[in-house]
Subunit: 406 residues, 2 copies
């Protein structure tokens, strides 16, 4: 959590961190500015010191919502630097020089945020060469933000629970909406007799998300039959909702305007489930409950991916472990951390696991995919581990495969 | 436009370009993949060659929508590399090595996309040191994508016009919604007698955007009175709509799921406009029409910012030119290019202008800001320059300051 940042800086030997970019699609900046909506901002934090925010003077008012000490580019004469150098890039380098001098920054400084990678490479190399007292660096894996994000403080948990509750309601509303349609020739139909489509369902969903003050920055998966057999296929808008076909409904909205995500998946069959789908569904649920039962603080996350692969392989399915690159069977990892980022640490892959800890919020999402047999199955809850190491699901939505319609 | 990329690569001496990241909030990747929705992808293009797309095997189906030649990480044994190196980072470096060898990439390679700046700095420095035949670089200003984006081809223009038409309809619907309310004690009220608020208006707007298949990834500005005096203040949800106060309504949605933006602003007063607001509004409109009249191909964009500053200063207002850092008067630049990015080249600032060209789509948005006098004014159309150099507004929404209510 955020209060860990100084410790994480010490562990890494960083004297200061710099976080920059737009705050809207840039989690470290959103995190450091407590969600203040900025087109462009810069947070500088010395080890042991409070973060300061430097922003466009036009965004002062928004910046003050961060609760941080706020300065603007104008306080450092950026316009004069641009005139003097005739270049935004050169002026930006000189701005950093002034900021580092003003705030007494020296030593190892690690950079975070969002930018163009080529631009960052050239810019930070120039800055590094320009500033003899400063060693510029960055983190390539398991950054201090990745680590800080893994556990949530009380205020974050409050926001996460609120988003979870609203996301569950939105999915329940969509199921009621679907059930409100008639069936004709094995297909759900609207009042005018035309088929109810994936596009119709997604449009209805969007109206519900608005009412619950949620947004879907990464879209939504509502994928029927073969499409559901590809974990990231979002579904085709023109597809009609037909009886007996698997529907993978993976909903992962966040607080409107930016904030915490919820991530939940249900697989449904309308009317009835074919035997092959039913059997695979039961196997997925078997893994789901086995893993939920086994979660324990201090245990390596990768161990649970092992449990899932063991179970699926014993049931005769290929897995990403037994058959690297497979697109049949169990093809992804068991879950992921979630927060301001939809996918964050801890990971549940074999290479990059980490011990589970109280305060973590993670997803559990076993699945089976057989696109050539025309189906995919995934069931996913978001869960958190409380101070005593107990696991609590934030996704109470029922897990029945078949939805009665008609 | 996209067909310029080879020429732009030659001008810059690039033998290949690499574009990476998530395609959703990453314009170069979205542009190169023709909008294929990818969580993570990599486009490599040799000078004179067709771009190839490398993606997660789980996203093959989505990747094929790009129309590009598609490969997956698995084709290059990424999983084995991860196992071998025990590190995603090291495996990723080796993956690049394999890709460059497989596709015959050597010489100067420029990187684009979205990533963490510190990570990019460390990663590209390592890759540069690892690959003796390759010189890695990036662009810090006026990149080839910035330049390619400035002009639009026929297909882009078709999409841009469609988004423009729907955005104008959404704003018109919101105005009708506002007019449908009663007035009590100089305040608009809902059926239950409680005040109509900025939050109510924004919620209604969101339902209209859904119906028009638009989204607002950068939010919307609906800022009343003093809030409108800060160009980027979005407005306070609890603020009631009151008569005689200026409302800056700046709407900049894009195609739902990613695509082209429209950007339009109107300033309104409900019922009546105070004299000071009326006078400033007329001055802003004077600049607006003078600039629209003057637009001509081959003219430097910065020249129009000069025209705007001249006119505002003659009328007695401070400007960003006469009073750097001012928050009163005309505090920003006249407009910007627009496309997949909300703000792109050409810029209209004094430092970074460029000649106007047929095919450009730009905004024109003079404004005056007096937060301490409780108002701000901005009027903005998005316009395009046709093949003959004629300017056409894509924002037909009327420009009347006062809306009759009650």
């Amino acid at each position: 959590m955020k209060s860990d940042i100084d410790r994480l800086m010490i562990e890494r030997g960083f004297d200061a961190i710099v976080v920059s970019g737009n705050s809207l699609h840039n989690y470290p900046l959103f995190y450091m500015t407590n969600g203040a909506p900025l087109t462009s901002g810069l947070v500088i934090k010395k080890r042991g010191g409070s973060p300061v925010l430097i922003c466009n003077p036009m965004e002062r008012e928004e910046a003050l919502k961060s609760g941080l000490e706020v300065h603007t580019w104008s306080d450092f004469d950026l316009t004069a630097l641009i005139k003097e150098t005739g270049s935004y890039f050169e002026a930006n380098l000189k701005l950093y020089e002034r900021l580092f001098e003003h705030f007494g920054i020296s030593g190892t400084v690690s950079f975070y945020g969002k930018s163009d990678p080529g631009e960052a490479f050239v810019r930070l190399a120039r800055l590094n060469a320009m500033l003899p007292d400063i060693e510029i660096t960055g983190e390539v894996e398991g950054s201090l933000f990745d680590e800080a994000y893994t556990t949530k403080d009380a205020d974050e948990l409050r926001q996460i629970k609120s988003v979870a509750e609203r996301t569950n309601k939105a999915m329940a509303d969509v199921i009621e909406f679907i059930k409100g349609h008639d069936v004709k020739d094995e297909t759900l139909v609207k009042a005018d007799g035309s088929p109810l489509t994936v596009g119709d369902v997604k449009r209805y969903l969007r109206t519900r998300l608005i009412d619950y003050d949620l947004e879907e920055p990464e879209a939504t998966i509502f994928a029927i039959g073969r499409d559901g057999g590809f974990p990231h296929s979002r579904g085709e808008a023109d597809d009609p909702l037909m009886l007996g076909k698997s529907i993978v409904f993976d909903l992962f909205p966040r607080q409107a305007g930016g904030g915490y995500f919820h991530d939940m998946t249900r697989t449904y069959c309308l009317g009835y489930a074919p035997d092959g789908v039913k059997k695979a569904y039961d196997e997925v649920m078997g893994v789901f409950y086995a893993v939920m039962e086994a979660f324990s603080p201090g245990e390596e996350s990768s161990g649970y991916q092992t449990v899932a692969c063991d179970m699926f392989e014993q049931a005769g399915h290929p897995t990403a472990r037994s058959t690297p690159g497979t697109t049949d069977g169990y093809v992804h990892s068991l879950g992921h951390g979630i927060g301001l980022e939809l996918h964050s640490d801890p990971r549940f892959s074999f290479i990059k696991g980490q011990p589970l800890e109280p305060g973590m919020v993670i997803t559990v999402e076993p699945g089976l995919y057989y696109p050539d047999r025309g189906f995919g199955i995934r069931v996913e809850d978001t869960v958190y581990m409380d101070a005593s190491g107990e696991i609590h699901s934030l996704t109470p939505m029922p897990k029945d495969l078949v939805i009665a319609v008609g």
